[in-house]
């Protein structure tokens, strides 16, 4: 087994990242974490995570940005809010996970070919196009992009949905598509500024 250095130098901490974590919506109590691990213990997905939510919170507030943004943990969060509901220090762990997902997408530091970020992006593309999400299209599209073998695996489910009349072929779309785009574009104008600010801060 190759040797791996696990010690960290203080210079490896990204303090701006730690400040950013504290500044995000939901991150306000993060400094108060007592590392009790309730979030991890209540999380139904922590059994698969490379860092338990508790460890991730600790890494994030300390500014270990690379570890945090490249972690699987944030992509495994199913946003069931169990951690947030019970955290004794009222840390909004789920909201922090969301913010970390967004940051990871923005910085392109999520694990490659890992389908969740792709689903998320695809989802927003669909909404921009139609205003609604034809689930079947979304799933098919996703698998074709990431792992078409899986797509074949899903054919059984597709047939079942077809049989029970739960499959829609024509993507439903709304009347006010232009209106929706204007709304989203207006936000984009603002958030582009925000993005620049984040980059500058980093």
């Amino acid at each position: 087994m190759p040797l791996q250095q696990t010690m960290r130098y203080e210079s490896e901490r990204d303090r701006a990242f730690a400040d950013w974590v504290e500044s995000i919506t939901g991150g306000e109590n993060v400094k108060g974490c007592i590392q009790c691990g309730l979030c991890s213990a209540t999380c139904p997905l922590s059994i698969y995570m490379d860092y338990t939510p508790r460890r991730l919170v600790n890494l994030a507030r300390a500014g270990f940005k690379d570890e945090v943004l490249s972690s699987f943990t944030i992509w495994l969060c199913a946003s069931c809010y169990a951690c947030r509901a019970e955290c004794p220090k009222q840390i909004k762990v789920t909201d922090i996970m969301y913010a970390l997902k967004r940051r990871a997408i923005r910085e392109g530091s999520y694990p490659r070919r890992f389908p969740i970020p792709i689903l998320a992006k695809e989802f927003s593309r669909m909404i921009r196009g139609f205003g609604r999400t034809p689930e079947t299209f979304l799933v098919a599209d996703l698998f074709l992009r990431t792992n078409w073998l899986r797509f074949l695996d899903m054919i059984g489910l597709g047939l079942n949905l077809l049989r029970t009349g739960r499959m829609s072929f024509v993507p439903e779309s709304i009347q006010g598509r232009d209106q929706l785009r204007r709304i989203l574009d207006s936000v984009d104008g603002e958030s582009a500024k925000e993005e620049r600010a984040v980059k500058e801060a980093a």
Partner: protein, 663 residues
């Protein structure tokens, strides 16, 4: 008034305290001193490192004498801390102590602001206000009022017992009021006490009998304080004595009535045993109950509920002590000082739904387990589960209702240690695998860490992590039919599922449910945590904002037995210092009616909560009884013709302050 060095009006001395760097570190004290020096009337303006020190006080006294100062202003800490100190300094210099005004630039400025310029500005403004105000001050005198020598202690747990004995041993008459049928409190429930593992009963019961036998102590158990009137040194306390339906002076606690009760079997949950056993309607809480007098529970006694019982109990009593006609009594007693030792409530673990207390029978509260391991408890100290099994694995969950924003934010301070104690006892009695689930292990007392070390070596398992849930859904064969604890082993960095047969929830300590009502009766404060508020966390830990009322033990905050006993001794000493002085001095901030200005409109009369204002029908004017007045100033604010003046808070003084602060 003599004219001052610059400007007219009285000659004012101004002093600013640096308080080491506490003030000078944030406020430019020299700038404030200079600012004050230029204000009209200020003859002396000085700074000093510690104004409250002897040299600081001496400097003031000397300046008053040498310079003929007529008013004194000191900018330092809170008047709640040192107002009295500087009044004395003024008096020492020959100045009436009320020609003094204090400016709080520490608690209200240097400690709470970071911007030095802004903090200095604030200090200057507040100093100017005081200097404007102090010109209007009048010479006043404190009233001396005699003090009643008796002491009341409310709450008969270990704190109350110790405080009562201490005061009684000093020769004071003490009335000890206890709500329950017996004194002893929570300590009487325990088998062993940490970290020495000495037997709780062995050290407590001698003190309980000492209370009973003490010639200076009147014990009123099964009684509650309902009203407190009066003021420091002269309280009038009303105590409700609930009927036991047993004559206390006749009953010897022989059990004959209990044996004779028409209920052959005990069938009502025994509160003392946390509901783990049953009692009859007529009962004695435990063999060493003090007073050793039985009590009849009106909620379950057939005679008291329906009036149609054969009353076999009464027949069985050869001393004729049972009296179904007993009524509630109300007693009024004068006392000089009151010590509150009303204790704590254990956190109700039902509030943490995810630990399954109340749903899973084998999830126990720590208090239940205290009884379970107690040799005189419901099972005689034999640890068996509700289903009769003997546990092979036991999980003790710390911090239940502690360190949690959803319930109680604080660390309850004793749970780590009593959890260790229970772990030891459970392991000793059952041989089971015992796990402790903790967030942080807190063992800061004398020989506490050594006890922890002992437990580690005894092979008790320690998992650092707050348990997320106790459930009964199995994922593996060994989990089937057992309780599963789900926790992150934070030191290992992964989540674990641990099957156990018994779960112990280490409940935190919280304020009594009725602490808010009690503190209203005694006119004291509660902290945001609900515990009684001490006057100062460090310097007046057993005093309250109500003079003459002291607090000790867990009613002030979670604490263990040694700390409780220490506080109880301290409270007794404070109470003794008060009553032994023989008199108290009252703040002269009372209100008065300027008779020739009063129109007799009677507006003020109904506003006074102490009925200190009466209407003189002969003069057709209002008048204020100085002894009854407590100095709130509500009447002065209300008087529509401005004819009521509150000493130290006269209109001119406050208007002066407003003008000063904004000029």
């Amino acid at each position: 008034m003599k004219s001052a060095s610059n400007g007219s009006g009285p000659k004012i001395g101004f002093y600013i305290c640096h308080c080491g760097t506490n003030i000078a570190g944030t406020i430019d004290v020299e700038a404030v001193r200079e600012h004050a020096a230029k204000l009209p009337g200020v003859a002396v303006s000085k700074g000093y490192k510690y104004m409250c020190s002897d040299p600081g006080q001496e400097m003031i006294a000397q300046d008053i004498r040498a310079q003929g100062l007529e008013r004194l202003v000191v900018a330092a800490c809170s008047p709640n801390l040192h107002e009295e100190t500087f009044r004395k300094a003024a008096a020492k210099g020959g100045l009436n102590p009320f020609f003094f005004q204090m400016v709080n630039i520490r608690e209200h400025a240097s400690w709470v602001h970071e911007d030095k310029a802004a903090a200095t500005q604030k200090a200057e403004d507040q100093v100017r206000a005081a200097i404007h105000r102090v010109r209007f001050h009048k010479a006043l005198e404190k009233k001396r009022v005699p003090v009643h020598p008796d002491v009341m202690v409310v709450g008969g747990g270990i704190a109350g017992i110790h405080a009562a004995l201490t005061a009684a041993n000093a020769g004071k008459k003490v009335i000890l009021v206890e709500r329950e049928a017996t004194i002893g409190g929570h300590m009487a429930l325990f088998d062993k006490t940490f970290p020495t593992l000495d037997c709780s009963a062995c050290i407590l019961t001698p003190k309980m009998s000492a209370v009973k036998g003490h010639p200076n102590i009147t014990l009123w158990a099964y009684s509650e304080v309902t009203k407190v009137e009066g003021y420091v040194g002269n309280f009038k306390v009303t105590v409700k004595r609930k009927p036991r339906y047993v004559k206390e002076d006749l009953c010897v606690g022989c059990d004959a009535c209990i044996d004779a009760c028409v209920f052959k079997e005990a069938k009502f949950p025994d509160e003392f045993n946390q509901g783990l056993s049953k009692r009859k309607p007529v009962y004695l809480s435990f063999p060493q109950a003090t007073p050793k007098v039985v009590t009849i529970d009106p909620k379950t006694c057939i005679q008291l509920k329906t009036g149609k019982c054969k009353m076999t109990c009464a027949a069985a009593c050869d001393r004729k002590a049972i009296d179904f006609g007993q009524k509630e009594e109300s007693k009024e007693v004068p006392v000089g000082a009151i010590i509150l030792t009303t204790g704590f409530d254990a956190f109700d673990p039902k509030r943490h739904e995810y630990y399954g207390y109340g749903r899973y029978p084998n999830v126990y509260s720590a208090l239940e387990v205290e009884r379970l391991v107690n040799a005189s408890g419901p099972t005689g100290g034999d640890v068996v589960l509700r289903d009769g099994r003997r546990p092979e694995a036991i999980g003790i969950i710390h911090c239940v209702g502690s360190r949690d924003e959803h319930t109680n934010k604080w660390c309850s301070r004793v749970c780590c240690m009593y959890s260790l104690k229970l772990a030891h006892l459970l392991k000793e009695r059952t041989g089971a695998q015992v796990y402790n689930f903790y967030i942080d292990m807190r063992t800061p007392g004398k020989t506490f860490e050594e006890f922890y070390d002992r437990l580690l070596k005894e092979g008790v398992q320690f998992v650092r992590g707050r348990v997320a849930e106790v459930n009964d859904w199995a994922m593996t064969r060994e989990e089937e039919g057992r309780l599963v604890i789900r926790v992150e082993d934070t030191l290992a960095g992964f989540v674990r599922r641990i099957p156990v047969d018994m779960v112990v929830l280490s409940q935190g300590l919280e304020a009594r449910k009725d602490a808010l009502d009690v503190r209203r009766i005694f006119n004291i404060g509660c902290g945001s945590d609900g515990f009684f508020q001490e006057r100062h966390p460090k310097l007046a830990p057993v005093s309250t904002f109500a003079d003459g009322i002291f607090i000790a033990g867990a009613c002030q905050g979670p604490k263990d037995i040694p700390d409780t006993v220490a506080q109880a001794g301290a409270a007794a000493a404070e109470a003794l210092a008060l009553v032994d002085a023989g008199h108290v001095e009252m703040e002269p901030n009372t209100s008065r009616v300027v008779e020739e200005e009063c129109s007799g409109c009677k507006s003020c009369v109904p506003l006074c909560p102490y009925s200190a204002i009466t209407f003189d029908e002969a003069k057709k004017k209002a008048s204020i009884n100085e002894i009854l007045c407590k100095g709130c100033g509500v009447c002065a604010a209300a008087c529509p013709s401005g004819s009521i003046r509150q000493n130290l808070f006269e209109d001119d003084e406050i208007f002066g302050e407003i003008e000063g602060v904004l000029s």
